[in-house]
């Protein structure tokens, strides 16, 4: 399995990379870690004429921490995110999602930006990105812009990323003082992709009631979504195992679920409820205890 022929360029700066994308238009694709794009090219499902490898652009890698959050460069690998004390401390669900991707070798190469741009409906990150209300910074010919998580995933393998744009970083606000998050998934046994993955992020007030909660679901529908019915049901009240279970049960309700060989639509909707309850419960216990 060898890809069709293409030209390869490896710009050393973001400006140069954007210029190359502008020059080649639709014929060019950005190559990050290559762990989504190369398999697709090897299967000849994509045959771009030019690959713009952004691995040489140093400013796109690394994790930086500020008072109120973390910024993760688009070329940061899953392995780096999984191992990062900053990520574990500020957004535990992101570290858990990174650790749940593929296997050691895949995590060594695959990148946050690459995975987000690919927008596989069964990828792990989208659930966390939605739950964490992350901001995705992208650069294009006209400069930078920030895309809110809620606006980013627009369909199966489709995002709000415009032609010629490159994701440069992802910003996530730190969990609240009494807040935490969790990501859990039911993985497809052979591929490891999410049949259902749920990320929950919870902030509690001084009395232990839920001040804010966001729940992201991946693998269940054609694109990752927020379980807003669950969020609404739990906001404002002190949670209990029972109230979480009851609210979470609606996570898959009315969703046009994927239906395939591995899991039927009804089963996926059911899993959404079960995993939402588990992820919210875990985030809640962490928030109350941390």
């Amino acid at each position: 399995m060898i890809p069709a022929s293409f030209d390869y360029v490896r710009p050393q700066s973001l400006e140069d990379a954007l210029a190359r994308l502008g020059e080649h238009g639709d014929d060019a694709r950005v190559l990050a870690g290559g762990h989504s794009l190369l398999p697709v090219m090897k299967a000849r499902l994509a045959d771009p004429g030019v690959l713009v490898d952004i691995a040489g652009i140093e400013s796109l890698s690394g994790i930086s921490e500020s008072e109120d959050g973390i910024t993760i460069g688009a070329m940061t690998t899953h392995a780096e995110i999984e191992a990062s004390a900053s990520v574990q401390g500020r957004c535990r669900s992101l570290a858990e999602a990174a650790a749940a991707i593929g296997d050691v070798q895949v995590r060594n190469r695959g990148t946050l930006g690459g995975s987000l741009a690919h927008a596989d409906p069964a990828a792990d990150y989208p659930a966390v990105i939605l739950a964490a209300n992350a901001e995705i910074t992208v650069a294009g010919a006209d400069g930078e812009r920030v895309i809110a998580a809620d606006d980013f995933f627009t369909g199966t393998y489709e995002t709000a990323l415009g032609a010629g744009e490159i994701i440069t970083s992802v910003r996530i606000r730190a969990s609240a003082a009494r807040g935490s998050s969790a990501y859990l998934k039911a993985a497809q046994q052979a591929s490891g992709f999410a049949v259902c993955g749920v990320a929950a992020r919870v902030a509690l007030d001084a009395d232990g009631a839920v001040e804010r909660i966001r729940v992201g679901v991946t693998g269940v529908a054609a694109t990752a979504y927020r379980a807003t019915s669950v969020e609404d049901a739990l906001t404002g009240a002190a949670p209990s195992a029972e109230s979480i279970r009851k609210a979470a049960a609606t996570a898959g309700e009315g969703v046009d679920a994927l239906d395939d060989f591995y899991a039927g639509a009804d089963f996926r909707r059911h899993l959404a409820g079960v995993y939402a309850a588990r992820a919210i419960g875990k985030a809640w216990i962490r928030a109350a205890g941390e």
Binding site: M1, I2, P3, A4, S5, F6, D7, Y8, R10, L31, G34, H35, L38, P39, K42, L51, D53, A55, A79, G102, D103, V104, Q105, V106, N108, R109, A190, S191
Partner: protein, 154 residues
């Protein structure tokens, strides 16, 4: 295109097509056939090599992406006639039958031990989840990696 890669400590230059996969460069251009290729779809791990000390599936890396990097293959593990502890213990503990998965297993295990000198059996199993063996049932592979880690701690 011309690329420079250091393979097992030796700097080498190759003239390849941009679409050449690292595994094919290693096997066909560098003549190092110890790196195996099976699934070609980043599942099995037979093609695992170290790229700047990190285990990667070389069927899913372009040779061009390895420009300027250091690659370690199974041929680079032994020191002359002296087998690497992992090689020795795979032999000692019967960690292989047909041997097809072995080079990949050994390179993945090498990264595991580099970051965790005393892994538990469970950590070993988790660490080699990206390497498939169709023969051994894994138990002897886990034993071999565990014994190699112990030998390397001594």
């Amino acid at each position: 295109m011309e690329i420079n890669i250091s393979i097992n400590g030796e700097s080498r230059t190759f003239d390849v097509e941009p679409r050449t996969l690292l595994v094919h460069l290693l096997r066909d251009d560098a003549g190092l056939t110890g790196t195996h290729v099976a699934c070609e779809t980043s599942i099995c791990g037979a093609c695992t090599v170290l790229l700047d000390d990190k285990a990667v599936k070389s069927c899913t890396v372009l040779a061009a992406q390895a420009q300027g990097c250091e690659v370690t293959t199974i041929e680079g593990m032994a020191n002359g006639e002296q087998l690497h502890p992992l090689q020795e213990q795979f032999w000692e503990k019967h960690g292989l039958q047909c041997g097809f998965c072995t080079p990949g297993m050994i390179l993945t295990a090498n990264q595991l031990i580099a970051s965790n000198a005393d892994p538990t059996d469970e950590e070993i199993r988790h660490g080699i989840e990206g390497n498939i063996c169709r023969c051994t049932g894994y138990q002897n592979i886990v034993d071999a990696i565990s014994a190699a880690a112990a030998q390397m701690r001594d």
